[in-house]
């Protein structure tokens, strides 16, 4: 049952077919509509209950004091596992999972996001 050259027709066909890879970053593979990328806080909806921080498996969410009535979630995208559990745990739909996935930054602080309190003009507490 041994047959030499069984792969040859396949090899020849592949010589004339376009490459399977794309020329990143000039072009890129599109992400599907339900892609799990960067989680983003919609501040108007956030009640500051802290359910997202309690369920985050990577401890990427920290509740910080921003001068509002209750602490608000700050995201550390360097720790984030992109599991979207925070959006699922949120009772007020205040966390949106976006398709954003180009998250490279020059330093660790660039991957941290701290909410600003909309009620005053003071800068948010950096930690």
């Amino acid at each position: 049952m041994s047959r030499v050259g069984r792969i040859f027709p396949e090899l020849i066909r592949c010589l004339f077919s376009p490459p399977a890879t794309v020329d990143f970053p000039k072009s890129e593979v599109p992400v599907p509509p339900d892609y799990r990328g960067k989680p983003v806080l919609i501040q108007e909806k956030c009640t500051g209950c802290g359910l997202c921080a309690r369920d985050c498996p990577a401890a990427a969410i920290e509740m910080v004091e921003v001068g509002a009535k209750r602490p608000k979630p700050a995201f550390d995208y360097a720790r984030c596992a992109f599991c979207a559990q925070c959006a699922e745990s949120c009772r007020s739909d205040a966390i949106e999972i976006t398709a954003e996935h180009h998250l490279a930054a020059y330093d660790k602080e660039g991957l941290r996001w701290v909410p600003r309190y909309e009620g005053t003009k003071e800068k948010p507490a950096e930690s």
Binding site: M1, S2, A20, R36, D55, P57, Q85, S89
Partner: protein
Amino acid sequence: MTKYNLPVGPQHPALKEPASFWFKVEGEVIVDVDIRLGYNHRGIEKACESRNYIQCLYLLERICGICSHAHTTAFAQGVEEILGLEIPARAKYIRVIIAELERIHSHLLWLGVAGHEIGFDTLFMYAWRDRETVLDILELISGNRVNYAMNTIGGVRRDIDQAKREQILGMLDPLAERVKFYTDLVTSEPTCLARLENVAPVPADKAVALGTVGPTARASGIKVDVRRDDPYAAYAEIPFEVITSERGDLLGRAIVRLGEIGESVKIIKYALQNLPEGPLTVKAPRKVAAGEAVSRVEAPRGEDIHYVRADGSDHPERVKVRAPTLANLFAVGESMKGAYVADIPIVIASIDPCFSCTDRMIELVQSRTGTSSVMTWEELREYGIRWYGHGHRS
């Protein structure tokens, strides 16, 4: 003849159970194998005890990037058993669909790795190119290529709607065609036959005695499959065949894995066409009453066992995982006796322990004089290919 000790390992970061193999070789023939486990212990089981059940799911998913769904299914099933929850039928079907997609992607990955280890890199490239189809389907359903995070306690997190269903069904048929081609190729191409046929066979009695599971056991003619023996999720309602081979050698394992891809395609099609309507989850309490459960799942590499003990709080008291590679390692060690040094890479790779991207250090120590020579995994692979290329054992 002078005996050598040939240490391979212990660092295999791609493996779930990093192992060190000490081969005693006489010339080219392996006379004894000693397997040492316990390296690269990550403490995942202990870490589970300080996390709540939701967090545990994501932690356990990261035991292995390839069987990620198998681990979360096993854990979620265990917790659901303690809670006495019956998950909705739709969730059961979606769990099956993801599990079978994962099996296809794992087996195609294995085919590529096996091709690479025997020096058939064309097969490696083509198999991995076609594996992208499955990863695209998984990304379409779950939003991620690996670590799909589909399971939650009490059901699944995402639905498969009608549009996605049609799209997936359209992608499956070309994939099934490709798998047919690979089955034909592996069983007829002289390169594959020379390196796989009658190499390190595990006879049926030995396979049972050494406790093999999954494709490794089925390749020795043992009809064992958790999906059939102890149906979980929706497997009791879905018709499928358990693929076995009487060969016991490496070719048998390739035939079984490729045959299983065909069965998986059939299961996915059936599940997609018969997807029951209904909710995705039932509400699960955060605190789990005291109790314990053992849950079994057929992962791509074999039977995966999770033990969960709850104490009434929102985090487990104890979690224990037995992954399939542990069960298969010893049969492989045993089957190596009488094989050649050149066969080491492909025999270890034959149980699918994710050996692909590791570049290992191998030290050849002459036991009498104590002299040693160092080879990397890559050099050993090339040595094996060259050795066969020179017409040994032809």
